[in-house]
Amino acid sequence: MRRSRNESPAWDAKAAAHLLSRAEFGPTPETVARLASMSMEKAVDTLLDEAAEAEPPERPDWVKDVWVNTERRYADTTREAAAESHRTTRRRYAAEMNQLRSWWLGQMIAARRPLRELMTLFWHGHFATATGKVNISQAIYAQNATLRRLALGNFRALLRDVTLDPAMLMYLDLEDSDRAKPNENYARELYELFTLGIGHYTEADIKETARALTGWTLDGPKGASKGRPTAPDTPRDFARDGLIATFVPARHDDGPKTILGEKGRFELDDVIAIVSRQKATGQFLAAKLIDFFGAADPRGELRGRTAAAFEESRGEIREMLRVVFTSPEFYSEASRGSQIKSPVRLLVGACRQLKLDVTATPSLAQLTAAMGQELFNPPNVKGWPGGKAWVGAGTLAVRYHLPDALLDGKVPAGMEPLGSNRFLAVSRDAEQGRAMMDRIEGAMAERRAERMKGGLKCRFRAEALFPQGAPQDPAALVDDLLGRLVVTAVRPSTRATLIAACAGAQPDDRPAAVARLILASPEYQMA
C-alpha cells in the first residue's frame, strides 16, 4: 500500500529497522526494540543526541603530540643518509596506515554510537583526501579526528578546520600557495565538491579565492628553533618542519578581491563566511546527505527542506539530519531496502549484526579495499562514487568470500596483487642478475607477510546470537535470521533455498550455514 507523500509515515519496528539500517550499521533486535518503543521524533532525537555526545576513541599509540619529520634533509645530509631516512620513514608510514585502517574499522565495529562513525565516514568521502598523495600517517589520523569531532556539528566550523587541516593543506596544495603564485587547486574543489557544486561560481571566483587563501602553510610549533637549513630546491616532503597550519603574512595577497559578488580585502575567514551563506551550499550538502542516507526524493522537496534547515540553523549538520530522518520521503516504499551497501557498511554491519568475535587486523581492512573501499584512499578528490558502482564482478566476488572470511577467519585467495613493482633494474649479467632476483623475491615475500600480519581474527559463535539456543525448526531459524539481517524484500526463492540448506545441515551448524548463505545473497547487499 502506497502512502501519499504528505502523510506522516507509520512508525513501527520495520520503520525503526529501516532507520537503523541507514543511520547505523544495520539493525539488531535490541536496537529495533529500543527505538520502536519511542515515538519517531524521540527515536531520531535519541540517535542524534547520542551521536553528538559520543566520546572520541583512544588514539593509536604511534600518534605523537608533536610530529617530527624523520625524513627531513639538510644542506649537509649525505645522499645515503637521505635515502635511508626516506626508506625507513615511508616503511613506517605504510605500517602505521595499515594499523590506522584496521583501527578505524575496529572503532566502527565496536562503536556504541555508530552514527558518529558513519558521519565521519560521510565526511571522509566528502572531503576526500588520499594516502596516494598524503602518506604521512599522523596527518591522516589528525584529519580523521577533526572529521569525527565536528561530524554532527556546525558546517562552517568544520569547513574552516578542514581547510586548515594539514592533510588537506598537502592534498590540495594550499601549503605551497603564496601571493606570487596562488595555487587554485583548493579553491576549485572548495566550490565544486565541498560547498556550491558546478554552476554556482565562475573561473574568476576561483582565481580570486585562491588569492584570498594564500599565506597559509605548514610549519613546526611556534618558537621551536628552525635548526639547520635545508638545501635549496629540496622537495617539500623533505623540508617540512611540522604539521601546524601557520599564517605567514608575507605570503598572503592582501589586495582587494571580488568573490561571489562581494568585494573586500578577503582572507580565509571571509571566504568561509561567504561560501557558508550561499543558498547553493545548503542545497548541495542536502543532496549529498540525502543520497548517502538513501531517501528517494524525486521532486527535490526533501532537499529543499533540508537546505532550509541548514539556512535556519546557520549550518548545523544535526538539524539537517533531523529533517532527513523524520521525513516521509525517507520512510517511503521507494526508499526502503533500495540502497546498495558500501563495503564498509557491509563488513562492519555483518560483524555487528552477527555479534562476531572480531579483532580488527590489517587483513580485515584489506577486505574492504578489495571490495572497492580502501579507507583513507578514496579514488580521487570526488570520493567514492557509490551506488551501483560498488558492485562489479570483481568486487562482488570478494563479497562472496565474506562468509568464509568473517565466520571462520579464512583469508580468501586472490586478495593480493599478482606481484609487486620492479623497483630496480635487474643486472643483465646472468650471475649478478640471478643474485639480485633472489634478493628481490625475498623482499617481496617479506612485504606480503607484513600486509597479512595477524591474518583475520573473526569467529562466529551461535551462542552469541542465540544465548537461549537457536530455533530448532529450519523455517523458524531462517525467518529469525532473515528478520535480523535483511531489510529489503526477501524473494520467495531465497527463503526456500535457505530453508533447504538449513534442513540439510547438521543441527549444530545450522545457524552458521544459514548466516553464510544470507551474507552471500543479493538481499544482504541492500540497506
Binding site: 558492485v391 596483487p417 633494474a425 545473497s521 538481499e523
Partner: protein
Amino acid sequence: MIIRTGRRQFLRQAAGLTALTATVPGFLNKTASAFGKAAPIPGLNDDRVLVVVQLAGGNDGLNTLVPHGDDAYYKARPKLGVGAKKVLKVDEYLGFHPELVELKGLLDAGDLAVVQNVGYPNPDRSHFRSSEIWETASPADKAWTTGWVGRYFDSECAQVQSPVLGLQLGERPAQTFAGPRPRAVTLANPAILDWPADGPLAAGLEKINRVEPTGIDALDYVQRAANDTLALSKRLKEAMRDAKSPVNYAPFEFSQSLKLVARMIAAEVPTRVYYVSLTGFDTHAAQANRHAALLQELSQGLSAFHRDLKARGLLDRTLVMTFSEFGRRVAENKSAGTDHGTANVMFLTGGGIAPGLHGERPDLKAIDESGDLVYKTDFRSVYAAVLGGWFGADPGRILEGRFEPAPVLKAVKPTA
C-alpha cells in the same frame, strides 16, 4: 574451419534465443561448455583481441625514444640525458633507452610500431584530467564520462553476450571501459573468483543468486551482477585449468598480468579488450634508476608476451597498444627528475601492425611556453586506426569526430 564457423553460428543463434526468453539476459556458460571447449565471443565477426597497456604517471618519452642526435636534448638534460654511446640506435637521430633491449629486438625483427610525438591540442598537465582525456578521448575542453572502448562496446557490441567484454587487471576501474552499461570487469587478481564449485554452500550460492526480478532497481542490478560473477567464475576456472605458459615471465606485477592475459586469450575467455597497467612513471625526482627499472619491466614484459602469443599461435589475432597520460617536460628539474609534460610515444605490437617509426619526431627547438613538446600526431588518430582497422568499427561515431587513421596497421580488412 567449417566446424568453427558452424559452432559460432550456433552460438549466435543461441544467444539471440536466450536474449528473447530470459527476463534478464544471462551468460551462455552452459551452451558454451556443451562443446567441451570455451567458445569465441558469440556476436562478433572475428576473434580479434586488443590489449591496452597503460603506463601510469606520465612516461618520459624523450628518455624512452632518445633523440641522441640533437644537442638541444643534452643541453636540456645535463644530468638525465641518456648518453649517445649507451643508446640503442635506431638511426642517426633516434635510439632506444639502453634498458629497452627486448623492444629494440622486436623493432629490428619488424614486430614493433613506434608512434612519436603523440598528444592532443590544449594539453592538460594534471594526471587526473589528462588520463581522463586519453581514456574518454574527449576534447580537452569537454568532460566526457564514457570511455572510448566503452563507447565501442556500446555502439558495436550491443548484441554480444559476454559478462566480460572488457577485462582489466588492476584495482580501480579504468575509465576507458566506462559506458552506459557495464560491460567490463576489473580484477586485482582473478584468483578472487575461485570458490568451491561443489558442496552445499556452492549449490546454495548459485540458487540464492538465481535472478528473480523484484522491481527494486538496485536489488535487481545486484542480482544480474551476481549472476554474471558466478558465470565468470565458472568460465575462468574452466578456462584457466591448464596453467602452463610456454615462456618465462618476471615475477613482477606487470609481467604477471600479461602472462595471465595470454592464458586467458588462449582459453578463449570471451573478452575483446584487455587492460593492464604499469605504474610509477611520475618521476619528479631521482628519475634515472627508477625509469630504467620501469622500462626494463616494460621491455621484458612485452617481449615475453610477444613470444608467448607467438608460441601459442595467437599473435595474429592480438594487438597490443601502450599509452601514457602525458610525457615529461623537455628540461630536467632541479631534483634530477622531470615534471609533467605533453606529447609522448606509443608502442604497438602484435597482429597486423605496420612496423617501424611513425609520425614526425619532436622538435626540441619548437617547444611551447611551458617548455613542453608540441604534439604532431593526435592520439585519437591512433585510436581511429585501431577501431577501424582492427575492429572494423566506425571510428567517427565512437570518437565523435573525424580523425585520419594513423598508418600504424597494415591495410587489413576485418573478415566479414
